[in-house]
Symmetry: C2
Subunit: 196 residues, 2 copies
């Protein structure tokens, strides 16, 4: 089983943005990734994230919805969705913390673009209405829970991919420190959106 | 199997908003719903949508993601996600139109609220960053494809629920006319978001 984790799920806009976080990672975490690849990952492969050795889990696009969001900074404007595998979703629904080993979370990020098609329909009935939809894919991030392997980073391994390729080590060094403020929620920023 | 459909999926913000659309529905559609309830629905039940007789499909919160969005008008500000059952998702992935019978689409709408938790983390590294997450659930809408039963409304039955209860007939009369501009995409506004 592949075992990825999200750099700043639900918070950060792009890999470039994440790289701006304090560049820090425990040496033990970096060390352990050199000693043994993540389950399902391949630390020696160009398809695996630096430090954590996490690869893209097949089928993640079909995982279930945790929540959605928008992030806007001077440089970033995105629509985002956070998805979970079955283990993660069960934990969210039950409010179980910490997340059990095997939990995986994906954060999918797209550019935030106006929808002309939608607005054409809306303009008559809703003057001034603005609708926004996903544009191009920006990146996808993963968090993978393995409390033993990733003990020095809260039990989570992280990965950030752009165009199917893992981003660089500097960016990945920022994943865990950025998630530390969410320690009380097992380092996960996303909360399960209510069911309408 | 329950068979619901979305009023203005991916476009309209709330039931109140939808009700502002032209109030029109073919008399044949209205008539047919009186004659026979939707499959899985119960036209005589307070749990079924007016006109179409569609009830809430169990487990829709766990359907797969079609896309996400934001809608903003003077009165509405929402984060939204569109989900599909397996039949709908397969059609989206294959680009198959029209959608086959049995396809169901859900549009989940929440209020658009700033996340103080996220912003606290972002403020140091990203001055001016703003993050937004789902607040309270607003409503959920469904589209259910049944080309025979709903022949007079593009093959789609529609439903809009707030707090688990179907909204009124006037609102549901607006569903199909609002979707007509999307006729070239089988009356569905949402497009499948690219996989990052």
């Amino acid at each position: 089983m592949l075992r990825p984790t999200v750099g700043a799920i639900g918070v950060f806009g792009s890999c470039a943005a994440i790289a701006l976080c304090a560049a820090y990672v425990t040496s033990s975490a970096a060390q352990s990734s050199k000693e043994s690849p993540a389950p399902g990952g391949n630390a020696g492969s160009s398809n695996a994230s630096p430090i954590y050795g996490v690869t893209i889990p097949p089928g993640y696009r079909d995982w279930k919805v945790i929540s959605v969001g928008r992030l806007k900074t001077d440089k970033v404007n995105q629509l985002r969705v956070q998805l979970g595998n079955d283990i993660a979703i069960k934990a969210f629904k039950e409010g179980k913390l910490p997340f059990p080993d095997g939990a995986m979370i994906a954060a999918l990020h797209w550019t935030y673009v106006p929808s002309e098609d939608n607005d054409k329909v809306l303009v008559a009935a809703f003057p001034g209405a603005e609708s926004f939809v996903p544009g191009a894919a920006v990146n996808v991030q993963f968090m993978v829970k393995d409390s033993k392997k990733y003990a020095s980073t809260g039990g989570w391994g992280f990965a950030d991919f752009k165009d199917g390729k893992p981003q660089d080590k500097t960016l990945h060094e920022a994943c865990f420190p950025c998630h530390e403020p969410a320690k009380a929620h097992d380092f996960v920023f996303a909360h399960y959106a209510p069911t309408p």
